[in-house]
Amino acid sequence: MDQRCPRCRSRIERRAPFSTEMTLAWLIAGIVLYIPANLLPVMHTSGLLGEEDSTILGGILEFWRSGDWDIALLIFTASVAVPFTKFIAIGLLVFTVRKNSRWQQHQRTALYRIVEFIGYWSMLDVIVVALTAALMQFQVLGAAEPRAGIAFFCAVVVVTMLSALSFDPRLIWDRPA
């Protein structure tokens, strides 16, 4: 029954075992973590003009209102649009595979490739906060500190990447038995 690799003794499977289940589990974990990532402040800035906790959405709104629509759009894309796209895309893939759907198999494969690719670029927010917190340390004049939200956001990115990794794209092409 067990087929093992003669060299490394690892199990040989036709398809990645429990692929859809694990993908789904990671996906749900990502969605759950995405909620505190958006509710909790990601950064705390203090300075002469007072101190402030900023959340991701609050920061986007602030940039938008102050006229920096390009930065707002960039952050929105990186921290709202991309995660949502990933949730929807992975959810769609898992759903169709479970249904053994034969709908748009080419496009779904392409979608999987895209999801896998943009996963690497989802850490934009985390990098922004890390850079700001590292650079903005002027004691009384101004200081920025990361807050819990950014850790959740980081976890969301990691978990969704794991979710995408656990998905076996070959399942898209499988025929029902």
């Binding site: 029954m1 067990d2 087929q3 093992r4 075992p17 429990f18 289940e21 694990m22 589990a25 990671w26 749900i28 974990a29 990502g30 759950v32 973590l33 909620i35 505190p36 509710l39 909790l40 002469l48 003009l49 007072g50 402030e52 976890a155 978990v159 656990s166």
Partner: protein, 552 residues
């Protein structure tokens, strides 16, 4: 594994026993569950930490920003403004603020909120940090037990936002003067407290609430007197000019001061309950307690120009009251216009005599005073206007014993008491001054001046004669005298022939006299020599005699 060269047909194979041992990958479900647990616990914690939301209404929301403006208690942020909106009647601004959970216990019915803005006054500078950071809402908790979520904000910060220990005192005054809230309170030039509130009472008087910080509140005793320290007290007394101020800030911005009252105040209860009287100035505050004023009326038949409301009434030189009204009366029976002076007297200022009397009487009543005044009138007490200063012409009323004055009727039942009067002496003075002036007027000044002029002319002539004649002669005489003295000087000089001759003569005379003495001695020893003459062999020569004297 085992590789069979001949794979058996499917039929030969035993039915596979499905062993679902590979449950480990299912452990991945722990991740979403853990995420959910963390998320839910965070939400619960957040919900638990959610403090109360309060609504504060202000007249103006200047500088208040949603999500930025903080609510601070003791300068620590305890909340943040979450909404600002107009009230339904558009009269106030309603500011909603979310407070932290631990601040919930600070919300009493009498908790106070106010907007902290920079304030720069003479006495103090506060809230400068808000210049950069924007305004914040200050908060001071109260003592009430009832909880409240709706508040009316103060328009100006309370003087004490978070109380140090101390005592709050109420001061009553007819007029508080210029006392801003926060004005300093001094005890012997030390600032020990502040004015924290001012109210206009329904009866029109003012009530000033001051806060004395601990431990200085121990200085406040029942006998303590408070007075308004704003302004400069300049006094010209017998000991010179005396300028008294509490501090420059108090002079400009107003302030209060207190100190122990006079010793007499020890005998008067009051102030124990934290209620004090605020006096106008220090001298008024330090005056012995006056008790209740009594009003008396005096009827003068002479003009009293210079008598003003507020002029002092003195009893044997002691100020015991002041004039409160000067009115013109009319006597129908002789169609005269007497001047009716009403004065208030503080009989306590009369000192021991009155107190003894008051102690005998029941209370400090008008009857007591009437009886007391009655006895004094019988002893000759009269009211008399006197001139306080010849320069200004101001008058005061003196109550003095004038036994020589005509007997006066005193009716102790009239209210207010009517004191018998005598006319002032200042008019007599005026008359005598007038007489003096008249006498001076009558002096033959012109004639005197003319005589004096003649005399002076004569004197001038005499002097010029002296100058013209007598003086040259005098100069001649003096020069002659000078040459005489010079020759005398020359004669008496040591080198002069006269001197030398005189000296020689004198030495001659001396040797002559010596010879005479020797002769006298010789004759004394040899009286016979007068008859026989000298015996030269026995009588050695004068130099030998001196050697024979040396031999023995």
């Amino acid at each position: 594994m085992s590789t069979a060269p001949d794979p058996p047909s499917e039929e030969d194979l035993p039915a596979p026993a499905v062993q679902n041992r590979r449950w480990i990958p299912r452990l991945v479900w722990v991740v979403p569950i853990a995420a959910a647990v963390i998320g839910i616990s965070l939400l619960i914690r957040n919900w638990e930490n959610q403090g109360p939301r309060v609504t504060i209404s202000f007249l103006s929301g200047e500088g208040v920003q949603v999500g930025k403006t903080l609510v601070k208690y003791r300068d620590v942020a305890v909340g943040r403004v979450s909404a600002v909106r107009l009230s339904a009647d558009h009269e106030t601004v309603e500011v909603s603020a979310d407070l932290s959970k631990d601040a919930a216990s600070l919300l009493k019915a009498d908790t106070q909120f106010w907007i902290v803005r920079p304030r720069i006054g003479v006495g103090s500078v506060s809230g400068l940090d808000t210049l950069l950071s924007g305004v914040y809402i200050g908060m001071k908790t109260g003592n009430a037990t009832r909880r409240e979520r709706q508040f009316v904000g103060l328009e100006s910060p309370p003087a004490l936002s978070h109380g140090p220990n101390g005592r709050e005192l109420q001061l009553h005054a007819v007029r508080a003067g210029s006392l801003p809230i926060g004005a300093p309170v001094y005890f012997r030039q030390f600032q020990v407290g502040r004015v924290i509130d001012e109210n206009l009472l329904p009866d029109g008087s003012t009530r000033v609430t001051v806060f004395i910080e601990s431990p200085y509140d121990n200085f406040v005793k029942p006998v303590t007197r408070f007075w308004n320290a704003s302004g400069i007290d300049v006094k010209l007394g017998a000991d010179g000019l005396n300028v008294q101020t509490e501090s420059l800030a108090a002079v400009i911005a107003g302030g209060l001061a207190f100190d122990d009252g006079p010793i007499e105040a020890l005998f008067v209860a009051g102030g124990a309950s934290g209620e004090f009287t605020l006096y106008k100035n220090e001298s008024e505050a330090m005056a012995p307690p006056d008790g209740e004023p009594h009003y008396v009326r005096m009827r003068f038949t002479q003009a009293l120009r210079g008598l003003e409301v507020g002029a002092p009434v003195e009893f044997v030189g002691v100020n015991i009251g002041s004039v409160v009204a000067v009115d013109l009366g009319y006597e129908s029976h002789d169609r005269s216009f007497p001047v009716i002076v009403t004065a208030k007297l503080y009989p306590r200022r009369m000192g021991q005599a009155y107190e003894v009397l008051a102690a005998q009487g029941k209370t400090e009543s008008v009857e007591t005073l009437a009886a007391f005044v009655g006895t004094l009138v019988n002893r000759g007490l009269r009211a008399q206007p006197r001139s306080a200063s010849l320069l200004t012409g101001k008058l005061y009323i003196a109550l003095d014993f004038l036994p020589a004055s005509p007997r006066a009727a005193f009716d102790p039942s009239i209210r207010p008491l009517e004191l018998p009067t005598v006319n002032g002496t200042f008019q007599e003075l005026e008359a005598s001054v007038g007489q003096l002036v008249r006498k001076v007027n009558n002096l033959p000044l012109e004639q005197i001046a003319a005589d004096l002029h003649t005399d002076l002319t004569d004197l001038h002539e005499t002097l010029s004669e002296v100058h013209a004649r007598v003086l040259p002669n005098a100069v001649d005489t003096l020069s002659a005298l000078h040459s005489t003295l010079e020759s005398a000087d020359r004669t008496l000089d040591v080198e002069s022939p006269l001197q030398r001759g005189l000296t020689e003569t004198l030495s001659e005379t001396r040797s002559t006299l010596q010879a005479v003495r020797e002769l006298a001695d010789y004759i004394d020893r040899h009286p016979d020599a007068l008859l026989r003459g000298r015996r030269p062999q026995k009588m050695p020569e004068r130099p030998a005699a001196s050697t024979s004297d040396a031999k023995p």
